[in-house]
Amino acid sequence: MKPRNSLMTLAVGLTVVAAACSSGTSTTTTADQPTTSSSTTSVTTPQTTTTIPSDQRTFVGADGVETTIGDVSRIVSLNGDLTEIIFELGFGENVVGVDVTTTYPPEAAALNDQGQTVGFAQQLAAEAVLRFEPTLVIGDQQVAPPEVLEQLRGAGTPVVILETQTTLDGVETKILEVAEILGVPDEGGELAERVMGEIDAARALAATDDSDPKIAYVYVRGPQVVFLFGAGMPTQGMIEGAGAIDAGAEAGVFGPAPLTPEALVAAAPDLIVLPEAGLAALGGIEAFLELPGVAETPAAQNDAFLDYDEAYFFNLGPRAGQALDEFVRDLYPEIGG
């Protein structure tokens, strides 16, 4: 079981709303999209935006399927972290469609708002992807159902499925794989080196503090949607990377678990990290403190809460080092420097 998948499942509630909103806009914007051609012209020529490495490559994905990749002029990204890497590698202009977990960079997030969305990648429909006439579809193992991948490949679209990475060290693999697929391994190597350098620096910074606080990541979206993240989640990598103990994992939680008051009290976190938007939707820290069990934690007694944009904090993309550095400095203000 991949706990990260469960994390994505949590987003379903929000996704339905987001999808409903974006579908509203898509009806108005489809006219601008190249797929809507007049009935006389049957094929629309995709617009090439940046230089395309002309050589063809093959890539064996995590699902064991070998894909031949040539043209990367029209990319559909099915995961927010992959979108970030694609943009960071300079292929942002080529991205024609994204899934709803794409929230960064702003140009990519704007695609979602403009209806250039495939919806939620765990409940994918083939035509939602094909309408962008992609020359490359890239996603990770969270994409479902598998039959849809079969349909896309059947329609002649190259689909690459990457392994889902849930650790800080996995960031390197992820970046190198995306770069290889895009035909820019050198740029990928540089980006991976830079990001891993940032991650290592942040880890080293954290090591200068010899306390090891117990930290829980609590994922909130509203009063009924509260989860304690545990082992195998990307948040575990971030917390341990910051030289702290993951309270959820230590309490035996695997993946995301619906938060029960007693589980939180038993986990006894010294500090709680929350997602920014979810906390705001709940009504802020005051509302969070009113949830059963929260007030009984050491974190509440010390008023020790941190909140970050969720994609920033646990996407494990190009911003992972930066996020870890910020987290470490927030965590140990005395070493801030």
């Binding site: 797929t35 409940q123 309408r131």
Partner: protein, 320 residues
């Protein structure tokens, strides 16, 4: 007629826009004619690779559910008999979920068939004890169904979520993953069971007169029951493995048609095949297009339409 209109709409509309002469072009080329517009590769992939197997699977699943509903209502002499209300669908979903974890869509269909047959026999045991009171059979089925769905939940939540269809799929159904492979695996079960069920239409007419009369006419009622329950369980299991549990088709379609077709099961079952096919294909069209490009579970549509229609038919029956 309705089927043709639905087929035309299902092949023509979707998130990808394909001009109608290209749709015809794809179909023409499949039967060896070089007519209509030359379709683009994408048009062919969408129309033939995605929409066509989906349409045919919707037809097959709808036809089968309508037929099974008609057979069960006759066999149990209970107008409220429905494969899912009786618990066959939820039972099949357990087997399908386990099969799915073991072998994808083909495993799901095989597991669904096996579990569907087992559940159908469990229902038979229950119905034997409560033959006098039809309401009791349904209530038992509802209770059984709820318990069985809980076990589907256990299977889903313990499985690898990357490959296991979510609970939503099993509860509400979806045709999003329809492929030729899914259709090819399911269609054998659906066809064989359909032939068996339609062939026993006459026997159902006789059973409707009462079991004692049927026995006097030399019919082995128990054998008929056994064969039909195997057929119904296998058919429901194949649909559940392929597309999950789609509610209201098996209940509503024969219930509504019975008033029109009269007591003859032959007419009822044939009409149920056509109407069921139309109902599910049309509902799937709504499921695909309502929030395009995002799809909603087809069971939401059949329940949203089927529930009120069923209530209306029930109240009308009281007035009459």
């Amino acid at each position: 007629m309705g089927l043709l209109v639905t087929a035309w709409a299902a092949l023509s509309f979707g998130a990808v826009s394909v001009p109608f002469d290209e749709v015809l072009g794809v179909l023409a080329r499949k039967i060896g004619l070089d007519a209509f517009a030359e379709p683009s590769r994408q048009a062919e992939g969408v129309v033939w690779g995605i929409r066509m197997p989906r349409l045919l699977l919707a037809f097959a699943v709808g036809a089968s559910l309508g037929l099974v509903g008609g057979v069960l209502q006759g066999l149990l002499r209970n107008d409220l008999a429905d494969p899912h209300l009786l618990g066959i669908g939820p039972g099949a979903a357990i087997g399908a979920a386990i099969g799915s974890a073991a072998g994808g869509i083909q495993g799901a269909i095989a597991g669904g068939v096996a579990a569907g047959v087992i559940t159908a026999f469990a229902i038979r045991r229950m119905s034997r004890r409560a033959t006098i009171d039809p309401t009791r059979i349904i209530l038992s089925g509802v209770a059984l169904g709820a318990a069985l769905f809980a076990w589907v939940g256990f299977v889903v939540f313990t499985a690898d979520r990357a490959t296991m269809p979510p609970m939503e799929f099993w509860l509400l159904g979806s045709l999003t993953g329809s492929t030729w492979r899914a259709l090819g695996t399911a269609i054998g079960f659906l066809l064989i069971t359909a032939i068996a069920m339609v062939a026993s239409a006459r026997l159902l007419d006789v059973i409707a007169l009462g079991e004692a009369d049927a026995r006097h006419l030399g019919i082995d009622v128990d054998l008929v029951r056994t064969v039909l329950l195997i057929a119904a369980g296998a058919a429901v299991g194949a649909t559940v493995g392929a597309v999950g549990v789609i509610a209201f088709v098996g209940l509503l379609v024969p219930f509504a048609l019975r008033r029109v077709t009269g007591p003859s099961h032959r007419h009822l079952l044939l009409a149920a095949i056509a109407t069921g096919a139309l109902f599910v294909a049309a509902a799937d069209l709504v499921a695909r297009l309502a929030l395009e490009p995002v799809e909603i579970p087809v069971g939401l549509v059949t329940a949203a339409i089927g529930g009120p229609v069923f209530l209306w038919l029930l109240t009308r029956r009281h007035d009459a």
